[in-house]
């Protein structure tokens, strides 16, 4: 089943084209990497799917509806670029950061406090951060904060999770365990994952689909096909690297 469909989507900032004629689907269960050089339109593509931007032309659908008409936003999890560039003095505890996505405190008759807390702790458990629930999020390391933001994206039990450059500024060892965690969520929970990155090196162990962007969609298919593609050779020629695939 296609969770996301883009039909001939183009987008321009002040007349400058960023994305041109994108036809593209994301299927349920995909672990998709959207890759491409800086400025290739990767983040813009995700923002179009989430409804944060509107296409200049073409159609975007998520769960069969235009993003603006998607009423149940809990189906969609999102960890934005620079999520961890938060104000270190912002006085939010880890459980507050995760719980804010439930919007339970904003809805009279919404989820009870106990149920909300249970969900928050379950989400923190999934990312291995349950022991940090009461601490201030600003004092965590970049890798730990990233897990907290994933827990916030998971707390509503989404069916699709978008992550925009999630490991920027995170050390290599932490990155490995981070991708292990995403792999587990994709395989055992059936969560569809869309990962935006400019580093094709992460397309190593876990990703099963690749979309390569450079204003246009220059490749969309499985990982093996990508490694044999012209798009891959172009990216290598422009200085991006690839770690050997280890399926």
């Amino acid at each position: 089943m296609s969770l996301v469909v883009l039909r001939r989507v183009s987008f321009a900032y002040d007349g400058t084209p960023v994305l041109v004629d994108i036809d593209f689907t994301i299927e349920e269960g995909d672990f998709l990497a959207i890759i491409g050089p800086n400025g290739s339109g990767k983040t813009t593509l995700v923002k179009l799917v989430l409804g944060l931007l509107r296409p200049t032309s073409g159609q975007v659908e998520i769960f069969g509806r235009p993003p603006a008409a998607l009423t149940d936003r809990r189906k969609v999890g999102y960890v934005p670029q620079k999520a961890t560039h938060i104000d270190p003095f912002f006085p939010a505890s880890v459980e507050e950061v995760v719980g804010m996505a439930l919007l339970s405190g904003s809805r009279p008759g919404g989820r009870s406090g106990r149920e909300a807390r249970a969900r928050v702790h379950r989400a923190l458990g999934e990312v291995g951060m349950a022991d940090f629930a009461k601490g201030p999020v600003g004092r965590l390391s970049g890798g730990q904060q990233q897990r907290v933001f994933i827990a916030r994206a998971l707390v509503t039990s989404p069916r699709i999770l978008f992550l925009d450059e999630p490991t920027t500024g995170v050390d290599a060892e932490t990155q490995d365990s981070f991708y292990e965690m995403l792999h587990r969520l994709n395989r055992s929970e059936g969560l569809t994952i869309v990962l935006v990155t400019h580093d094709i090196g992460i397309v190593n162990k876990h990703v099963n689909r690749v979309a390569c962007l450079n204003q246009r969609l220059v490749y969309h298919g499985d990982h093996e096909g990508f490694c044999r593609s012209e798009a891959f050779r172009e990216m290598i020629a422009h200085g991006n690297h690839l770690i050997a695939h280890e399926h």
Partner: protein, 273 residues
């Protein structure tokens, strides 16, 4: 002190002061963290034009200030969105205009008098029963509005883009926050005056943020500072015969210094539970 509290004017001052203090402190935490702390300063100048308009038209100055400040708050939001101005520029425009119109209207109404001064410097001990009812009712309404939108406001303040992706209408929440701030500023005007009301929004919040490790704790600490300062300021004003508004602001600042030193003494709190 107990005997003093038997006086109606003191009961009114405490009742209105405490409600307004909590409303200012709660909104202040959101505004300070959004780096919108100066909105209080700007809206208070605009409210001055409203007070002058009320005196000019001979209607309740507090009500006139309320209408003008809320209208200006909506205009600031529009100006930020449409004219592409930064928030502080939009506030700068309206705050100067507010002060200028206030001076003009007060001059036309020939009302550079004691009543106008009471709005500039606050005169909570002279608060009327109708004003108390207005203050308590509106401050309670502000707190209820924040409670109903608590998670959305927190989410938007912490991470605006993710909040939008979660379906939160951040534009509407911006407007709500500005309108609530305008209402609170007008109420605070009677407690500490136009010239000092921004202090009730900014200083308790800044003080609370020194020691809080969670958002709820920040709101609690900010409210505690504001309530203590208002109650203490009123008490000092009676005992020492000094202006309550100045005493309240100085106490807010002292609380900020104390909590800053507490934070310094404690060092950086640990991240883990």
């Amino acid at each position: 002190m107990q005997a003093l509290l038997a006086y109606g004017f003191l009961q009114r001052a405490f009742l209105a002061g405490l409600f307004i203090a909590v409303a200012c402190a709660v909104l202040g935490v959101f505004l300070v963290l959004r780096k919108d702390a100066m909105i209080g300063h700007g809206l208070s100048h605009i409210a001055f034009a409203g007070v002058a308009l009320g005196l000019f038209l001979n209607v309740l100055p507090l009500a006139a200030a309320l209408v003008v400040a809320v209208g200006a708050a909506l205009a600031v939001v529009k100006l930020k969105g449409r004219a592409g101005l930064h928030g502080d520029t939009a506030i700068g425009i309206f705050s100067s205009l507010g002060l200028a119109l206030g001076v003009l209207l007060a001059s036309l109404a020939r009302s550079f008098n004691v009543e106008l001064m009471s709005y500039l410097f606050g005169d909570i001990l002279a608060i009327e029963p109708l004003e108390v009812a207005l203050a308590v009712g509106l401050a309670a309404a502000v707190l209820v509005a924040v409670r109903l939108n608590y998670d959305k406001l927190l989410f938007m303040t912490f991470d605006r883009e993710s909040a939008r992706a979660a379906g939160i209408k951040v534009g509407r929440l911006d407007t709500l926050l500005m309108v609530l701030t305008a209402v609170t500023i007008v109420l605070g005007m009677k407690v500490v005056g136009i010239l000092l009301v921004a202090a009730l929004i900014v200083i308790p919040a800044a003080a609370g943020l020194q020691v809080a490790s969670s958002f709820r704790a920040a709101i609690g600490a900010s409210a505690a500072v504001a309530v203590t300062a208002v109650a203490g300021g009123l008490g000092l004003s009676l005992v020492l015969n000094i202006p309550a508004s100045a005493a309240i602001v100085v106490l807010c600042f002292l609380a900020f210094v104390v909590l800053f030193l507490v934070k310094k003494g404690r060092g950086v709190p640990p991240a883990a539970a």
